[in-house]
Symmetry: D2
Subunit: 395 residues, 4 copies
């Protein structure tokens, strides 16, 4: 039953080839690093979702001379990619089938391997390093997520004597990933999962931050009629001038065919909206956490619920209405059958932010301070310049 | 290994439930037909792709009192749907694994069952009925495709003494399916198959008919830069005023990141374009026939070709350039992993055209003439009205 | 007080220079005609609005060797342009201050001058030629308007033994003028006259023909929220799929901030809409005839009316509501202060249709039949090709 | 020859009626102020462009109990509005025909009237108050412009012991005025002045700040093809992802039909662009200062220049090319014949920022500090909320 390790690695390589061929920013960094070897003599410990796109990031760091010890996220590690990376000489811990305890042991094992640089995710490595007194040898690193940044500035404040550059707070991610890539993968996923027509449909987008702006823009571009619910007055003003209907979520619930949340906040679609929503409404969330729609409350108020097609659930209510819940309220633009996630270019962008930020940690640590901090301005500008050049945008 | 027939039917039902729940036009027709029983005493012979959406059409005709004998297309019949339809009392011939000979035998068997109404596809049933002298009992029917209509007006002209209403020539299909549904499924499929970013990318759309207009409109709406190649002067004029760059395909091939064909014509992307195209270009076709890109010529001119990800093939050329061919030049908006095809609403629309046209055949044959003819104007108008009402578009 | 004729002509020339420099299609025709002299020995009688753009058309015909006798429309003749044209050797009758009787005498005088070619407008010249038995020497001509075409096919049917090519029915006019040029001049004029913001405003467009499509498209592009009222079911269907709210005018009147008519039909905005309209609503018409809004009915139902700013009138109603009527219900995209009318390029297009159609009348009369007829297909295609080339659209 | 003062005031009133009726935010403030009388006992000295929109602001402040002494800008004061305001009891100094010396005397006279509140423009009043030692009685005020804010923080730093709230730096102005209102008035003015078609035309927008974004967005929405030149890497990245062609101005000059500057910087279109630009190119500036196009350099390099139509100048070059310069390089969206300027709603917004900021100065001076400062966050939010409510955006 088990696939031989060699075949598994070959499969990983086949899947990674296309992706690598469409990540020109990392290709350039890989070539540069192969000459300058910034990470020679350094050991990078990493905790990050392991799939083909991240594999290209790891190859890039390895090309720069880094020794690598890595582990993935619980339940999402792709074993063929792991096999490929091991063949390429990296120490990669974990498998998709790992239990929570096994996963925690892997994260701890990364820290125990005494890396001097961390590529962290949710501050998991940093927290364990602090807990186990393993911070002394660390010269710095990066933190992928905003929530990891909050944790470094909160419960870990003052405990990590090394710099952590928070990647996700870069304006390039806001524009390139949140607005455009999430905006488009949301529309693509809506069609892919439901097969429902966009033009002429009514969409209520809850939240008008970077993600909400992108989602609203692309739904309207596809012929949808779009309304915005947003409690921040300035963003609501912006939405109104951008030409959207703007109002309270509950007041617009009877109008909407589809309600999509993108706020980052819990329970923004709850009992008040459920009471008003149109029968047949489709409910979906694109926020990182699965808490924006009050799914427990919704299910509790239903007379019955049943799966209906992949990624969809039909809830019937006593008053005769029904609703369709997409991917159980979890981030649906990465869900359903065959999700591709955000575009290759947006990942290429984010991983160049990782690469150049890690390079800065080793080449100019004096320019950084201890603790969480933004991507240095000159790195943002350099990457913006390279991205436009890679697009050959002047054509 | 074989799934019991009962389980197979249950799977068919599960897949059809969501789809049926989102086809309100057929739901209304089903309810109307159940009262008026227009097809009572009639026998409909059918040849049409058998999957959940067509199943809902068959149920609708059956609700109107029709006896049904049906078969599918070669190689695309979905066995679970067949099992479900058989449980519902229809005679359904064929299976996905059928050989070409078995398939032809099934089509002939439909004709031999002596239906008095044909729901035809490519004029296959009509041709066999003529060949076998089985036309006398046929009072009329519908033809799904434009090419079937051409055949009825060509090689079969004067040989079919009954009326055949050609569904695909309806203006409602041009607008609702070709422009909007194909336009959107093309963008969705491009992202689903390649995971490549749309904004900032250069797209050359070859052909500015209904499909090309929709594809260009939605690619631009998604931030793509779009150029049009079109040999018809009036359509090229329209494209220029719609704000697109307009020129010869070969002249724009060096500019385009992606080339998509939508002309219906053979070899519109051939040696001249291959000679000029940019390295890394992605080539895809949305036209019905797989002949718009000269795939044999492309492969013959390549130094090597290899599959790269599902639905993609990488071709390397001696001069160092490479190209990516999507789904081997076949209609890519129905290809790759997990294709959903055109929206449920556009299928609902097309199948109501079928339903009301077939009803007209039995209720007012005197209003029709022998041979191929367009959907009666009043049926188009009635369906347009119902579609707008079903959208509740005045909200 | 009177301006000397020489100064008047100089003013006409100054105003015409910019316009001529931006009409490349007529420039090319002028150069071609100067070589081929198709109109040598011919005498063109013309009735058409006399302003700088038409002056460039007349110069083009004169360059082709034509003798010209022309008159303008009642009350819109621009005297400086007339003076310039006279200096250039044309016989031009009429002045802005002409009375209706004087105007009619001028039209008759054009006919009495015995031209052999007519460039007609509303079939005025043809009707007089028939009435006075002056048709024998006429070899053919053009008719600018759709209503003139209807007249030729109606009351004058069989009475005009020469071909009349109807310019306005060309698909190039539908696309280039009605959709795009009127669409844009409508938005421009709305802002120019009212100074009211477009984004976030609610617009009800009554009519979804070529003009209505363009108006709706550009209002939405400018951030407006747009609804469509359309009684033709197919057009309403198209509007719904184009993503607009679609409903009855009266039902949407309470929602709209602005109501714009573009139907060609009388009284499409009347008592039913007036009863429901929102206080402060702005009412405007872009159709050719000033009858789409029932202005007499509106004023009769008002408690008071008063001009408010140039091109605007405020009507107060007994129930406390008020409405703003733009340019008295006349075609407002040509009204208000400083109207520029449709773009130079759209006029260049329409006048090349005139020029090449008139050329056809003299060079290949055998290809034409007596009476009203469309622009020959090859002329449409040739002009489409030249327009795209003049745009240098392949850049 | 002189119009009697009474008639002049009547004309001012007539022109102001429409405008006042479309400024709902100021109407509400006027009603509120009439109850709360925040400015009772206060004297507001003002220097601001005097036309109907500002008249409505002055009325609003007067309704709040203020004594008002005002003067306008050099050469733009509208005498009928002045007459009307005087009739309403305000002290208004100046006339359109004033000489520079007379104008300066008027500004000084406002200061000498010893107002305790300043509504300043370019820090003119503040500078004179400092110079003449007249700051002691001033409790605070507002500054309309960004450049006035820079002056207060620069040469006047530490010299004005009172708070000055800088209106133009509010995010509401960036969104509501710079992006949307300037974006739209630019397109409107382009069509109004040139009568040139937008769809299919190539536009190079230099600068991708708030104004540039709006201009590019609306030109593209109108069917234009748009490229961006921007030296800030982050903004260039944003433009590329927004789907525009992005490159150097000189490199794109040979492609563009129209070049529009919106940078705020001097000479962004100069010799390098002139050398490459396409013959017939139209050059226009929307920035506040007339220095973005190097007009002296352009004219010096021309073989001849001549006015051609209102607001346009044609320059011929020795190499046979020509260019069209709009309004001499001055802010063209406020130029040409019959300019309406930014929308009434955007002015209503800006003047409510003035009104509520001035109210804050008198009602809660303790919340402010000496010198230039941004609009308080709660005022921005309150105005955003009122703007959305006035739009009735939830409809």
């Amino acid at each position: 039953m088990d696939e031989p390790m060699k075949d598994l690695a070959a499969r990983g390589r086949a899947r990674t080839d296309w992706i690598r061929s469409r990540m020109p920013l990392l290709a350039q960094a890989r070539a540069d690093f192969a000459e300058t070897l910034p990470f020679a003599g350094h050991h990078i410990g990493m905790s990050l979702h392991l799939e083909p796109k991240t594999a290209v990031l790891l190859e890039t760091l390895q090309a720069g001379g880094a020794q690598i010890t890595a582990t993935g996220n619980l339940g999402t590690t792709q074993d063929d990619v792991v096999a490929m990376l091991r063949e390429q000489g990296m120490t990669v811990l974990g498998a998709r089938a790992d239990s929570p305890d096994e996963h925690l042991a892997n994260v701890a094992a990364v820290v125990e391997a005494s890396p001097d640089i961390l590529l962290d995710n949710g501050a998991d490595l940093a927290a364990i390093a602090v807990e186990r007194g393993k911070v002394a040898q660390i010269i710095g690193g990066t933190e992928e997520t905003t929530s990891g940044g909050l944790r470094l500035r909160g419960e870990l404040a003052g405990l990590t004597p090394f710099p952590s550059i928070v990647i996700n707070d870069s304006i390039l991610k806001a524009i390139g990933e949140n607005r455009h890539a999430v905006g488009q993968s949301t529309v693509e996923s809506f069609m892919r999962i439901t097969n429902v027509m966009v033009p002429g449909r009514r969409f209520l987008v809850v939240g008008y931050g970077w993600c909400g702006r992108g989602i609203a823009q692309y739904l309207r571009a596809f012929g949808g009629q779009v309304a915005i619910a947003e409690i921040d007055e300035i963003k609501a003003f912006e939405a109104a001038l951008d030409g959207y209907r703007v109002g309270e979520a509950a007041a617009l619930a009877g109008w909407a065919d589809v309600i999509i949340t993108a706020t980052g906040q819990p329970n923004v679609v709850g009992a008040e909206v459920f009471a008003q929503m149109r029968s047949g409404v489709i409910l979906a969330n694109t926020g990182h956490f699965p808490w924006e729609i009050d799914v427990p409350g919704l299910r509790a108020s239903a007379a019955s619920t049943a799966p209906i097609g992949e990624g969809m659930e039909r809830l019937e209510f006593a008053d005769g209405r029904h609703a369709i819940l997409i991917t159980g309220g979890r981030m649906f633009n990465l869900g359903g059958a065959n999700p591709k996630g955000n575009s290759l270019e947006s990942m290429d962008l984010g991983f160049l932010l990782q690469s150049l930020s890690l390079e800065r940690v080793v080449t100019n640590p004096a320019s950084l301070t201890a603790g969480a901090q933004p991507v240095p301005d000159d790195i943002n500008r350099e990457i913006a310049r390279r991205f436009v050049a890679a697009l050959d945008a002047a054509r």
